[in-house]
C-alpha cells in the first residue's frame, strides 16, 4: 500500500485509540505510542499496530498512537482506517470470517 499523505482515525474517548499515520520513504515503522494502560498492554498494542501495518503492506511510516484502553480489534480497525485514508484508497479487500 502506497501512502500519499498524513491521515488520522479514531478518537480520544475511552476504549478508543487515535492513530495518525505519516508517509515516509525509509526507516521502517517509527511508532510513538502512549496509552492509559501502557504498563499492562503497551507491548501488545504495539505488536497489533505493527502486525496490522505489515498486513496492509505499509513498510515505512511515522505512526503516532494515543490509546485510551482500546481492545485489539479496535486498534486493528483504527490503524486500518488511518492507513487507507493515508493511501487515499476507498476499496478494501475484506477477508471472510474463518
Amino acid at each position: 500500500m502506497k501512502l500519499k499523505h498524513t491521515a488520522m482515525a479514531g478518537t480520544l474517548e475511552s476504549s478508543d485509540i487515535m492513530v495518525t499515520i505519516e508517509p515516509k520513504d525509509t526507516g521502517g515503522i517509527a511508532l510513538d505510542l502512549t496509552s492509559s494502560v501502557m504498563q499492562q498492554f503497551g507491548r501488545q498494542i504495539e505488536a497489533v499496530i505493527r502486525d496490522t501495518l505489515s498486513g496492509l503492506g505499509v513498510e515505512n511510516a511515522a505512526v503516532i498512537a494515543v490509546d485510551k484502553g482500546a481492545l485489539d480489534c479496535t486498534v486493528r480497525a483504527r490503524v486500518s482506517a488511518a492507513a487507507l485514508r493515508a493511501a487515499g484508497q476507498e476499496e478494501f479487500n475484506w477477508e471472510v470470517r474463518r
Binding site: S15, V37, Q39, Q40, G69, A70, L71
Partner: protein, 510 residues
C-alpha cells in the same frame, strides 16, 4: 467531721476516699452567659492552642476526614506547625484526600515523617507510591483504626478536629440545630474516637454557638482547647447537594443483579439490616432494593454506614426504621441527621471496631465496590491497576467480615483493565470474608458459601466460578503484563484486627 472520726469508721481502709471534707472553692455568682464569655476553652489563635497542648517533636497528631475534598484543617494546621518549627511528627488521619497534596512539602522538609490513614489520593498518593517517604504509610480500616486508638497501638498526642459547630466549652458537632444553623458535614463519627482517646484535643470551629451545643458529636469533657477559624473548609468540597443515582447502564445492570442476588440468597426479609457503599453500582443497588421492599411490603430495621440521601429518603418514606450514621455523604443525609430523631450519629468504635460488638456485626448484607478481585476472592480497593495508591480502605474489611452476606460489585473490565484477575495488586479485604462477586457479565459465589450458590441457582441466577469470570475478562481484553515494582515498601496494609495483611511497594517506572 474530723480526722479522728474518719479513722474510727469500720473498714475505712477498704472504702475509697479522699480524706475529710475541707470546704468548697468560692462559688461563682455571675450569670452563666457572662461566664461563657470569660471562663472557657477558647484561645485566640491556633499557635496559642498548639503551645497549650505541649506538642513536641516526634509526637502524633490526628485529623478526621469528614470535610473530604473540602478540608482546610489538615493543611492549615500542618502549615502552622511547620512555621512553628516542629519536626518528625506522625500524622494520623482517619483519611486523606487529593486536597492534601501540600503535605508533600512538609514531608520533604521533615515536618511529617510518618502517616497513618485509611486512604490516599491525588498527588500525595502518587508521590508516596514513587517513594516519597522513608517510613511506610500505615493503612487501616475505619474499624481497625478505632481499635488501634483504643488499644494504644496508635496513641494520639494532639487531635486537631474541625467542627462546624462548637460551644465555648467544646461540645462540638458536624451540624447545628441552632436557628439558621449549618448542616456542614452531618455526622462526625470518625472524629469521636480521636476526641475520646487523644491526650489533648483542639477543636477548630467556624461557628461558635451558645452553650449547650446539643446534640453534640463530641462532648466538652473530651475537648481541651477551642480556636475559632473563619475558614475550616470549602462547603462545596465538603458535600454536594444530593448524591445522584447513576444513569450508567452498566452500573445499573450490576446493581439490579446485586439486588436480585441479595433477594435470592434470602436476606431480603421483613426486619433486615443493610449497608450500601456510595459508589455508582453499590449505591444504585439501594434503588432496586427499595422497589423489592415495596413489592414485598417489608421494612428494613436499620441501615448503617456512610449514609446517602437515597437511604434517608427510604427512611423518610417509612421503609427503614433506624439509620446509624458514622459519616454523612451528602446534604440530604446531613439534613436527615439534623431533623429525623431515628437517624443516629455513631462513632467509629460503635460502627466497626473488632474489639467491641460493633454495628457491622449486625448487618445482613453489605454491597461494596472494588478495584480488583482475585480468584481467591481477595479484594483491592487501595491501589490502581498501575500499582499507584488511589483509594481508601474505609469500612470495606469491617463490613465484609461483619455482614452475613458481603456482595462485592465491579465491572468485569474497566476499559481494557480486567477487574477479576489472578492476584490482586494489594489485598485489603481477604477472600475469606467476601461471599459474592457481582459483575456486569456474571456472578460468582465463594466456594465457602455453597448454600448461597444453591439459592441463587434455584432462583434462576447463573453462577459462574470466579475462574470463569477471570477467563471471560481475559477473553475480552487479553492478559495484562504484570505491574513492575521495586523492592522498597511504601505502604503497610492492616486487616481490621491490625495484623499486617499486605504491603504496597514502590512502583518501578525505569
Amino acid at each position: 467531721m474530723d480526722e479522728q472520726l474518719l479513722q474510727n469508721i469500720p473498714h475505712i481502709d477498704e472504702i475509697a476516699h479522699h480524706g475529710v471534707f475541707s470546704g468548697v472553692p468560692a462559688k461563682h455568682t455571675g450569670t452563666f452567659q457572662d461566664r461563657a464569655q470569660r471562663q472557657n476553652k477558647l484561645l485566640p489563635s491556633l499557635e496559642d492552642a498548639v503551645r497549650a497542648t505541649g506538642l513536641r517533636d516526634g509526637m502524633t497528631i490526628s485529623f478526621h476526614h469528614h470535610f473530604r475534598g473540602g478540608d482546610h484543617v489538615v493543611n492549615r494546621v500542618v502549615d502552622t506547625l511547620a512555621r512553628m518549627g516542629f519536626k518528625n511528627l506522625t500524622l494520623a488521619a482517619s483519611s486523606l484526600a487529593a486536597v492534601h497534596a501540600p503535605l508533600i512539602e512538609h514531608i520533604k522538609n521533615g515536618v511529617i515523617t510518618h502517616i497513618e490513614t485509611s486512604g490516599l489520593r491525588g498527588e500525595l498518593a502518587e508521590q508516596i507510591s514513587r517513594g516519597l517517604m522513608d517510613c511506610p504509610v500505615v493503612f487501616r480500616s475505619h474499624g481497625g483504626r478505632a481499635a488501634a486508638i483504643r488499644s494504644g497501638e496508635l496513641h494520639i498526642d494532639v487531635a486537631f478536629l474541625g467542627a462546624p459547630s462548637c460551644d465555648p466549652y467544646g461540645n462540638a458537632n458536624g451540624y447545628s440545630r441552632e436557628e439558621g444553623g449549618t448542616l456542614a458535614c452531618g455526622s462526625m463519627g470518625y472524629a469521636r474516637t480521636d476526641a475520646k482517646y487523644a491526650s489533648k484535643v483542639v477543636i477548630l470551629t467556624n461557628k461558635l454557638v451558645s452553650y449547650p451545643n446539643a446534640p453534640w458529636a463530641i462532648p466538652e469533657y473530651d475537648v481541651d482547647y477551642i480556636v475559632v477559624e473563619e475558614d475550616i473548609g470549602d462547603p462545596k468540597g465538603i458535600m454536594s447537594g444530593a448524591t445522584r443515582y447513576t444513569k450508567n447502564p452498566k452500573e445499573l445492570l450490576i446493581a439490579q443483579t446485586a439486588a436480585n442476588v441479595i433477594d435470592a440468597a434470602g436476606y431480603l426479609y421483613n426486619g433486615f439490616s443493610m449497608q450500601m457503599g456510595s459508589g455508582g453500582a453499590s449505591l444504585a443497588t439501594a434503588r432496586f432494593i427499595r422497589q423489592m421492599m415495596l413489592d414485598k411490603s417489608i421494612r428494613c430495621r436499620f441501615a448503617l454506614g456512610g449514609i446517602t440521601g437515597q437511604i434517608t429518603a427510604m427512611h423518610e418514606e417509612g421503609l427503614i426504621d433506624r439509620v446509624l450514621d458514622v459519616q454523612s455523604f451528602d446534604l440530604d443525609a446531613a439534613h436527615s441527621l439534623k431533623h429525623n430523631r431515628f437517624h443516629h450519629q455513631i462513632g467509629a468504635t460503635y460502627y466497626a471496631s473488632f474489639l467491641s460488638a460493633a454495628a457491622v456485626d449486625q448487618l445482613d448484607f453489605v454491597v461494596l465496590s472494588a478495584l480488583e478481585i482475585d480468584t481467591d476472592f481477595n479484594v483491592n480497593v487501595l491501589t490502581g491497576s498501575d500499582g499507584v495508591i488511589r483509594g481508601a480502605i474505609g469500612g470495606h474489611p469491617d463490613t465484609a467480615a461483619g455482614a452475613s452476606l458481603s456482595v462485592v460489585v465491579a465491572p468485569l473490565t474497566r476499559g481494557r483493565i480486567p477487574c477479576v484477575i489472578g492476584r490482586v495488586n494489594t489485598v485489603v479485604t481477604p477472600g475469606d470474608v467476601v461471599d459474592v462477586v457481582v459483575t456486569d457479565q456474571g456472578v460468582a459465589v465463594n466456594p465457602k458459601r455453597p448454600e448461597v450458590a444453591g439459592k441463587l441457582r434455584a432462583a434462576g441466577i447463573r453462577v459462574y466460578t470466579i475462574q470463569e469470570l477471570k477467563d471471560k475478562a481475559e477473553a475480552l481484553v487479553g492478559v495484562p503484563d504484570p505491574i513492575r515494582y521495586k523492592d522498597r515498601i511504601v505502604g503497610v496494609v492492616m486487616y481490621r484486627n491490625n495484623t499486617v495483611i499486605d504491603v504496597i511497594r514502590q512502583i518501578d517506572e525505569d
